[in-house]
Every structure is written in structure tokens, then in C-alpha cells.
């Protein structure tokens, strides 16, 4: 039934490499996964050049922030049958996209001592440039979801991530609601679950790194925050952290 091992490439654009590290950190599970998957390109672990045979799956981490990256992602798209945007940056631009809301160059000169060497424009998710077949959510991605995705693709079936919210997982963990008890704005109610409510279960609010779940109502959440006395400044910062909640891809 399987047509041999799944040929996979792992690519990185503008990002911190944290999502690739999740793959590396699968450790023993990775060995199991490699029974079904052949890594044809993975710069983090090998110096091999870009493969010249077509790939079954490209796992792409990072946002597109300049022309070279734009060319790169089109090249990757062309050589891959199935393209996965892995992590917040690839999905929506991620933290990189915070700078989209400030004048060009401002963020660079705050961060770098010699910003003239930085070639970086607005940051976008991959779907601004190419068709994306599937998303892995989070900053970084979730190892379990990565495994399930690869195992599903290995039998030539599109992957599935259940459409529940972080808020639901937080409840299942029996946590007291941080927003309702401490008045701190939490994005759990509108954010794609699957992380097992990692942040709120450890006492900090959800930052929305997994993106907005289709069918949820961020405007309603914003209203709830306003009614609870959260300052407009804080609301703005919170909503734009992962590249502006209202512009976010929703699944």
C-alpha cells in the first residue's frame, strides 16, 4: 500500500530554528519515524545540497522576509508534492511580523548595531507566496503533531489536527482561568489547541502562537477584555504579537 519511504526535506527561512529542533528532539521516536520517512534534505544535521529529485513532503520553517526567501519558497514548492508550513513564522509570519506594524527599518535599528547589513522587508507566512497544503501550529511546533503528520503522510493521507481551542484543553486540565481570576488577557479562547494548554497550565496566559481557530470570535474576546478593564495598549500588543490576530490565517 505504501509507495516506499516518504521523501522529506526540511527547510528554513527567517526563523530561530526552534521548530527544526523539535524534529531533532524527537530522539527515539525520530528513529521510529525514519522507518517510514527518508530525510533527503535537512541542513541542521547534514551538509547535503538541495536534492535534485522531487520531494514527497517539504517541511518549511520560517517567514518570508526578503526577495531571496521568496524565490526559495517558490523553488521548494515546485520540487515538493506536499508543503507543510511548520510553526508560527511559516504559518503567519510569526514574531517576525511584529515589525510589519512599525515603520520600515525601525525594528532593525533597535535590534542590530549595524542595521545597514540587514536585508529584510515585511515578514509574511508562506501562503502569501505559495499554496500551503498543511500547517503545523505553534512556536515552536508540537512534536506529537509532527509525528502524527509524518505518519499520516507516510500512508499518503493528509494530516489532521483536531479543531479544538487552547481554552478547552486548559479546562480539561482543571486550571483556574487566568483571565477571569487575574484579569490578564489570554488568547486561549480563540487559539488552535493541540499544545495541551502548555502556557496557561503553567500560570501564564496564552499568546496565541498556534493561530486563530476557524469559527472562533476574536472580536468577542477583545470585547470581553475591554469589559474586564484591560487597557487598549495591552490589547493591541497582545493581538499583534503573533502577526495581528485579525489578519491571521484561520483554519
Amino acid at each position: 500500500m505504501m509507495n516506499g519511504k516518504l521523501k522529506v526535506g526540511v527547510f528554513k527561512l527567517a526563523s530561530c530554528s526552534g521548530c527544526q529542533m523539535v524534529l531533532v528532539h524527537l530522539e527515539e521516536s525520530l528513529l521510529e519515524v525514519l522507518k517510514y520517512v527518508e530525510l533527503k534534505y535537512f541542513r541542521m544535521v547534514s551538509d547535503d545540497d538541495l536534492p535534485n529529485e522531487p520531494l514527497d513532503v517539504a517541511i518549511v520553517e520560517g517567514a518570508v522576509t526578503n526577495e531571496e526567501e521568496g524565490i526559495m519558497i517558490k523553488k521548494i514548492r515546485k520540487m515538493s508534492r506536499f508543503l507543510i508550513a511548520a510553526g508560527a513564522c511559516a504559518a503567519t509570519g510569526g514574531l517576525n511580523a511584529i515589525k510589519n506594524t512599525t515603520p520600515e527599518g525601525e525594528v532593525e535599528s533597535t535590534v542590530y548595531s549595524s542595521p545597514e547589513y540587514i536585508r529584510s522587508g515585511k515578514a509574511f507566512g508562506l501562503n502569501e507566496y505559495v499554496n500551503v497544503d498543511a500547517y503545523l501550529y505553534g512556536c515552536p511546533i508540537d512534536g506529537r503533531e509532527l509525528i502524527n503528520t509524518l505518519m499520516s503522510l507516510a500512508i499518503r493521507v493528509p494530516p489532521y489536527i483536531p479543531g479544538i481551542t487552547v481554552c478547552m484543553e486548559c479546562k480539561m486540565n482543571g486550571n483556574e482561568c487566568i483571565f477571569l481570576t487575574r484579569g490578564e488577557p489570554c488568547l486561549g479562547p480563540v487559539t488552535v489547541g493541540g499544545c495541551n494548554a502548555l502556557c496557561p497550565s503553567n500560570g501564564v496566559t496564552c499568546e496565541g502562537c498556534r493561530g486563530v481557530l476557524k469559527g472562533t470570535n476574536p472580536k468577542g474576546l477583545e470585547l470581553a477584555w475591554t469589559n474586564a478593564g484591560v487597557s487598549p495598549d495591552l490589547i493591541r500588543l497582545k493581538l499583534r504579537k503573533y502577526s495581528d490576530v485579525y489578519k491571521l490565517l484561520t483554519r
Binding site: M1, M151, S152, I155, R156, V157, P158, Y160
Partner: protein, 279 residues
Amino acid sequence: MSNESENPYLPAFAKVVEIRDENSTTKTFKLRMLNNKALRFRPGQFDIISYFGVGESAFSISSSPEEKDVFENTIRKVGRVTTALFNVKPGDILGVRGPYGKPWPLERVMGSDLIIIAGGMGLAPLRPVIHYIAKHRDLYGSVDILYGARTPGDMIFTYEFDSWRNIPNTRLYLTVDYVPPNTKWEYDVGVVTELLKYVKPRMRDTNVFVCGPEVMMKFTAQLLLRMGFYPSEIFLSLERRMKCGIGKCGHCQIGYKYVCKDGPVFNLEEIGLLPDVIE
């Protein structure tokens, strides 16, 4: 159905004995239960097929109820489970639960004329009805089958159309929304409800079975009511998300009805006033 004491979530095993292409996105899978079991079903019931590792999906049983040792599911490739099923080869083993749900009311409408109206894949749960009538022809009056699809290439069971036309006192009318260039088509073009112009129903002595996309069923039901049919004479088979088939998982509810156990075949009278019936 299975024994009371058995785990209703436990699939039985069935072997794929034959796979037929219906069209470019639809295949019919002929299955045989293992361990000398048989799936005894009535026309309109559904089963739940497991592809282990991917999941389960509910499908109308599309074969003749007269065939005792094999049964068929006609499946369109639309999601994960169906994608996995399209990779299956004859000889492979699948999981099967069921049959579930209320069948078409073939006893209740005995002796009356029947109009069968199907759109696209909606012919799948009606094919067992047609086979049943062919076998028990004297139990029913005149039968009109009205079938519409998007294009000629989207039709299913086309290889049986001639034999359906040969059933005594039975007529088959076909229509498509659109005929692509260089496609041979000698029947109607237009929506399936337009085929009702060919039918002169004997009012109060005719029942209608309808299955197809919800919007097609909505327009069909509205037209039938305008023609003078009572809601109690119109039966529809509905599709909903289902995770269990036995009224536990909750997904298929429409108002207080469960499509899995109160349906999938409903009388229009039962569901006419419920919310969320039509998308």
C-alpha cells in the same frame, strides 16, 4: 445488529473483494464480512468503515439487499478516510460496524407509486431501493427514477441504467447541470427538479424518496409541496458528521433528532420545523 453484549465500537473485519471505478472521484467497494458473518441491512441504512490508523466514516450501503454474502459502499474521495480507502486494493481488510439507522419505509409505501429523486452521490442509498423493487416488482405501482448530476462524468451506476429501464412499469429520467464540450449526452440539461415535468403522479397514491445535496433536497421538497404532495409522502435521507453511529457522540443532532438513529431517512413531516436542517 450485533449482539447486545458486544462492544458497539468494535468493528468487525471485512475483506475488499472488488473495487469498481464509478467516475474520476468515486469508487464502489464490494466487501465480504470475515468469520462467516454477514451484514444484513435494509435499503437506506448505512455502515461505518474503519481504515485503521486513519479513522472511521459513515457511508450509505449501496448494494442490493438481496445479495446476502457481500455488500457495497460507493465512496467519493473527499477527506482523510476516503483518501485512505482509495489506496486500498482487493484482498485488503477493513473494519466495518453497522448497519445503522432507519431504512427507507418500503413496507409503509407498499402498493403505492414511487418517485425516486437523486442528485449526484445521493443515488447511492437509493440503489438498494431500486434493486429491491426490481426483485419484488408486484409490491409497488409505477416507479419513476429522476437522477441529476453536475456533468455526465459525475454520474454513478451508469452501467446499470439499461437494466433499470427494463424493470416493468419503471422509467429513468436523467439530467445534468452542464455538458462539457465533446461529451455525448442525449438526455436533459438542467436541475433535477425539472424532470418532474415528465411525471404525472396519482396524488394520494404516490410517495417520493429523495436523496442528494441539501440544497437540491430543499428545492425538491418545496416543489413537491407546491405540486400538492403532503409532507408525510416525502422522505429524505440526510448526511451529517458522525463519530459513533449509535447516538452517543452527539455530532449528527438536528434539533432533538439524531440522524444516526432517528434517520438518516426522515419523513419531511418529522424534520420540517427543525433548525439547522439546511446548510
